[in-house]
Amino acid sequence: MTAATEPRLSTLDAADTLVFSAWSAISPFGVGAAAFSDGVRAGASALAPSDGPFPSAALVPDFSARQALGRKGTRSMDRVTALAVGTVGQLLESCGPGLLEHPERVGVVLGTGSGSVQSIMDFTRDALTGDKPYHVDPALFPNTVMNRAAGQSAIWHRIKGPNTTIAGGALTGLLALSYASRLLRGGHCDRVLVGAAEEYSTQRAWLEWRGSGGTAAPLGEGGAVFLLEAESAAVRAGRPVLARPVGTRFRGFFEADGARRALTDCVRSALAQAGVDRDEVVFVSTDGAEEAAVVDALGRTPEWVRCAPLVGDTSAAAAGFQLAAAIAAGRSGHALVTGVERDGTVGCTVLELP
């Protein structure tokens, strides 16, 4: 009844390079990759006064699930899910209908923080404050499960390949890229929509504020999604090579002051894996943390691209926006994307920009 006898069918040749061939963003600069690119190039901050614990925040202007996606199917949709569904939709639109010709061969790999802490905590609040502890809206229950944004992106757009949710704090976007790359090399699909989304919510703001003892940077939100596929597939489909992620490495540290050393080692090992000399690095898209570690690794102060001052700390989406900013820079050569997660991990991706 089943054809299980043929060997694993990988469409990816061992020598084939993975490339980013399209991307999209919904950011505090507005909807679309162009709005993000223009915003980053202009260098104007999207932070505005906020009524949460932080004095300011960077929200996607005029964004709601209904406004972005229409009335149908959005009644119970929370903000992070709408950001994810919308950003994936932007990417699909920009690529045309052929992208989903074989929907079971297209994967979705999406990073989130802890799903929507607003949805989770609102649900518990309803349980604690209702007449009965089970007087909750069942339609909202799936929003409290952390694979909601990735899963609903697949349901909304009918994408039937592997569908994976990734979490790793500030490194989430790089971890999602690493996961997506292995999914492709493992032959599990032919292309992956990979990225991350994060919502601004009052509850997230309070958790970040209290968790940092009031020292955290202002928060932002949004989503960035990339099309990752084999270079040969991109060329066949007539899509451009926007960037080649040629090396991604991570390190752990467990001493309070261990981040700098860990990131220096991480940058070195990522460059070594990519076979790229440190002198070839044209610029570094940083999250702002431990930049001295990058200077140590490169032996000089590189040109920095920093999006956090512009779009706020977008937490799980931060590294996704850093990747987008590196591509949007429109430069040629090699760039690094670096991140530091205070829980004890660091990451670095080397991009080759054609």
């Binding site: 089943t2 905590m121 349980a127 409290t144 909601r148 990734i166 599990h188 467990f254």
Partner: protein
């Protein structure tokens, strides 16, 4: 980068760390699986006043300080305590020295449904009482999903490591193990600590209760009058490494990971889809290079709800001309969410090693609509060569893992 032209590596399981409601550690877990132990008892982790029934499968004898050596248990939420403790157990079970482990490039991937939602529940209660300005900073800080994997890094003091949490809900354990398989297979990492962790929380109990899917007393997968799930908790972490690595250090090999399949129904937020699950099973078979008739038993997702069990057994009958035994250890452990398929994988590895099929307990009469041999109530001795572990999640996220007996020439 992958060495072009190099043969993919074979991947084996050499260590198991388990925290479960039927026993902590491999020895107790194995004994529980063999004797059909039940983890069910009244839920104590939150006030269940107002629910007409509130049984669950909690881990009641877990003392984090007894397992964690480096990390202060107070800085970890309960799910992270479970994952860090299970990881430490798994490394010890693999008889891999910590210095040896730290010298290898590694991956830590931990699946979850709720991560530290138990902490978030408690923060909501605090916030209702004292306002958001008073949220406990330590609890706020430790409540993120990434902690389930980064806590393993800190506890074991790993440095050359990639740590990722995979919150793909109730199939997450299989996703995490599959990720380790791919990373080792292509030669990028030498050892992977993979599995899943979750803690019982009010939020998820309430959601399933509201959906009418919480069983009043016990979990009875494939039973004619089954009444639903019981929420459970725990962690399962597997030490995986390349076959060369395991042989070089003379490690005991529980089982070989033959492959896995992933797909997404892309259809309904909570209801499973028979045809799509059948396709996922076929994908897993193809990727693992096995045929349906090779499978000696299926460890089902088997939640004990009407919808899951009839849909899942329908998918199995679609793929298998004659289905092998189909069991659900959720009858014993309840539904430990993101830990579930990791613990089921550990159970499959033990079953292969020890030569038995774990039973489906609480069983009286099989639902003819399911029509499977669920190995009712009593474990069955069997020589097992290839086993299949199913996992399904909300949003139609399916993950099917295939494990095999390790044989030195395949």
């Amino acid at each position: 980068m992958r060495d072009a032209g190099r043969q993919p590596r074979r991947v084996v399981i050499t260590g198991l760390g388990v925290v479960t409601s039927i026993g902590i550690g491999v020895t107790e877990f194995l004994a529980g699986l063999r004797e059909g132990r039940s983890g069910v008892k009244p839920i104590t982790s939150f006030d269940t006043t107002g629910f007409s029934h509130a049984n669950g499968c909690e881990v009641t004898d877990f003392d984090p300080a007894a397992w964690l050596e480096r990390v202060d248990p107070g800085e970890l939420g309960r799910a992270s305590q479970f994952s860090a403790a299970a990881a430490r157990m798994a490394v010890a079970d693999a008889a891999m020295g910590l210095d040896e482990l730290r010298g290898k490039r590694s991956l830590v991937s931990v699946g979850t449904t709720d991560a530290e939602s138990r902490d978030l529940d408690n923060l909501v209660a605090d916030q209702l009482r004292d306002g958001p300005e008073a949220l406990d900073p330590v609890v706020a800080r430790r409540s993120t999903a990434g902690r389930l994997s980064s806590s393993v890094v800190r506890e074991l003091q790993l440095t050359d490591v990639e740590a990722v949490t995979i919150p793909t809900a109730c199939a997450a354990g299989n996703y995490a193990i599959g990720y380790g398989f791919d990373a080792i297979r292509e030669g990028e990492v030498e050892v992977a600590l993979c599995g899943g962790a979750d803690a019982v929380c009010r939020k998820t109990f309430t959601g399933f209760y509201r959906l009418g899917t919480i069983a009043p007393e016990v979990c009875q997968p494939f039973e004619k009058d089954r009444k639903g799930i019981l929420t459970g908790e725990g962690a399962g972490i597997l030490v995986m490494e390349s076959l060369e690595s395991a042989l070089a250090r003379g490690a005991r090999i529980y089982a070989e990971v033959l492959g896995y399949g992933l797909n997404c129904d892309a259809n309904h937020p909570v209801a499973p889809d028979r045809d799509s699950l059948a396709r996922c099973i076929e994908l897993a078979h193809r990727n693992a290079g096995v045929k349906p008739e090779d499978i000696d038993f299926v460890s089902a997702h088997g939640t004990g709800t009407k919808a899951n069990d009839v849909t899942e057994s329908g998918a199995i009958r679609q793929v298998f001309d004659t289905p092998p035994p189909v069991v659900s250890i959720k009858s014993m452990l309840g539904h430990s969410m993101g830990a579930a398929s990791a613990l089921a994988s550990a159970a499959c590895a033990l079953a292969i090693q020890e030569g038995f099929i774990p039973p489906t307990i609480n069983h009286h009469e099989t639902d003819p609509e399911c029509g499977v041999d669920c190995v009712p109530n009593v474990a069955r001795p069997a020589r097992l060569d290839v086993v299949q572990n199913n996992a399904l999640a909300f949003a139609g996220n399916n993950a099917v893992l295939i494990l095999g007996r390790y044989r030195d020439a395949v």
